[in-house]
Symmetry: C2
Subunit: 349 residues, 2 copies
Amino acid sequence: MNNGRTASSPVGLHRVLEPSGVLPQAALRLDASPRLWPDEVRIAIERLNLDAASFRQLSLAHGGDGAAVRTSVLGMIRTSGKMHNPVTGSGGMLVGTVEEVGPESTLGLSVGERVATLVSLTLTPLVVTDGLIGWDGRAEQVPATGHAILFGRSIAARLPDDLPTSLALAVLDVCGAPALTARVVRNRVDGGAVPSVAVIGAAGKSGSLALSAARRAGAGRLVGVVLIESEAAALRAADLADEIVLADARDPVALAQAIGKPVDVTVVCVDVPGCEGGAILSTAAGGTVVFFSMATSFTAAALGAEGLAADVTMLVGNGFVPGHADLALQLIREDAGVRRLFTQRLGLP
Amino acid sequence: MNNGRTASSPVGLHRVLEPSGVLPQAALRLDASPRLWPDEVRIAIERLNLDAASFRQLSLAHGGDGAAVRTSVLGMIRTSGKMHNPVTGSGGMLVGTVEEVGPESTLGLSVGERVATLVSLTLTPLVVTDGLIGWDGRAEQVPATGHAILFGRSIAARLPDDLPTSLALAVLDVCGAPALTARVVRNRVDGGAVPSVAVIGAAGKSGSLALSAARRAGAGRLVGVVLIESEAAALRAADLADEIVLADARDPVALAQAIGKPVDVTVVCVDVPGCEGGAILSTAAGGTVVFFSMATSFTAAALGAEGLAADVTMLVGNGFVPGHADLALQLIREDAGVRRLFTQRLGLP
């Protein structure tokens, strides 16, 4: 290997070429060579799924010229050894087949398995060998040939045989939300409580899975908050909540009134800014707010709780919880209501 | 009362004049009239402590012209019924004496007590009656006459007789950090563990109090991380940590190497951006990161943990924990090391 290291790092430091010492996500250039370190796994790639924000930015920057977008993506991958859009800071995920497993890998993968990576492409060493010839540059889904490297400490999920790939990917994309919701609810159940739970943005992908996970983890009263009546109707048909209420989550007073008696656990799954105050106000003293929205403002949450003298625990929604992929796939298999919401959204039969 | 309500709201909705329905912090104008609703408390003000960022902005905007700064602050208070700098979004706190306590107030305050408010001035109804004549507009401390209103659900701390006011205020300003740190450590101790704890920014106000609180709550190995040798020397003299290490918290690899064996609880008290990855990398699986820095990026924390496949609980540092003021004042009284750090910083004898 070409950076003088004699041992690999589980987080991939040994693949960082420039600047030295940073984590792979912060690196400008990764060593994406195919030869494995003992704890690594190589994936033969099949498809890249560009992050939606990244694809939109590239498309706009090139005036919708697909060929130019393709050239730009190829250039980024060649230059940096990963797919990391420097403007949006985002990458995406990939689908492929396990090609080689290092003898010390602990990811539990076997050669020939079809997997999706659950860590960002912004930190995944990547080589494309087909010039992305099968992609017209006009969609986020990028057919591709080449390879990617998984580090010792990484995350990939086996793609199940029994689910359409697009459905599995949509579920895996948000699988942290149901897992963390389940953990928070279960901790309270283990403490002898039957916690009430409100999910804000309950008809969306992460929200519907969070509701389903909360019920299975032993939640009591389950409130689904949605913005508009069509979402309420879809959620009603899915039978995921005890109460379905309409409210604009950016209006703290309206949200708290819609939810009524404050709940023990509030899960924020709606991707608009300004939902912090309402979530805090809707949560009982001693309760927990889990923020999954990437639009969450750290300072609004911290100062909002202080301003309301609210003794609530506020969690940053970590996208990784052990077992998160399996749990989410299990929910989509077993909960017909969640499954219907997903298939409708994806336009699947 | 002039907005047609017949009952007060514990979070002050009944004092919001414009726009209707928002929380007092988001309001453009509050009713600051002195007559109390049954659950309120009126404070005769003695001094406003403007938020540092707010004062700096005002001073710059007026080219250091103190009289113009004073006119500007007076105008804001008159127009909005509170001290809310619209540019910085911040307010400050105030010191005064309890003048009247509504019969249904649950804050536990008595007439004549000297208190500091621990909720932001951006949500506190405020009237100034002396034209701020005692203030030259050149410092954050503003002598003032007038009154302020505390809502049913609010926070004020009695100023202790045995501590200089400036010391008590400095402690109360950061009192959420030791309280939440103590709670996180105690929860683990109650579960049978002796958690190791690292505090990043350990020589500062919140950091030193967090270290002291962690030790008293039953922490095991206690690591203080500072940036420069003079801080290390001060922290060493204060005897607050088992290990004192130098590291730039923005460098994840350097931080994790300096801390060594990952800790169970990491407390981030350093007010610079970019410390999320290092804090996550320094925390053991199953551990907790408490982010107290207002420079924390929500997305950097969420995506950083996912990218590292780090099963860590990440808490938004809520400035309110019941009993936080009493705990912090107790620490400053009883822990000579913390006290010395504070008095040196404040230039007290």
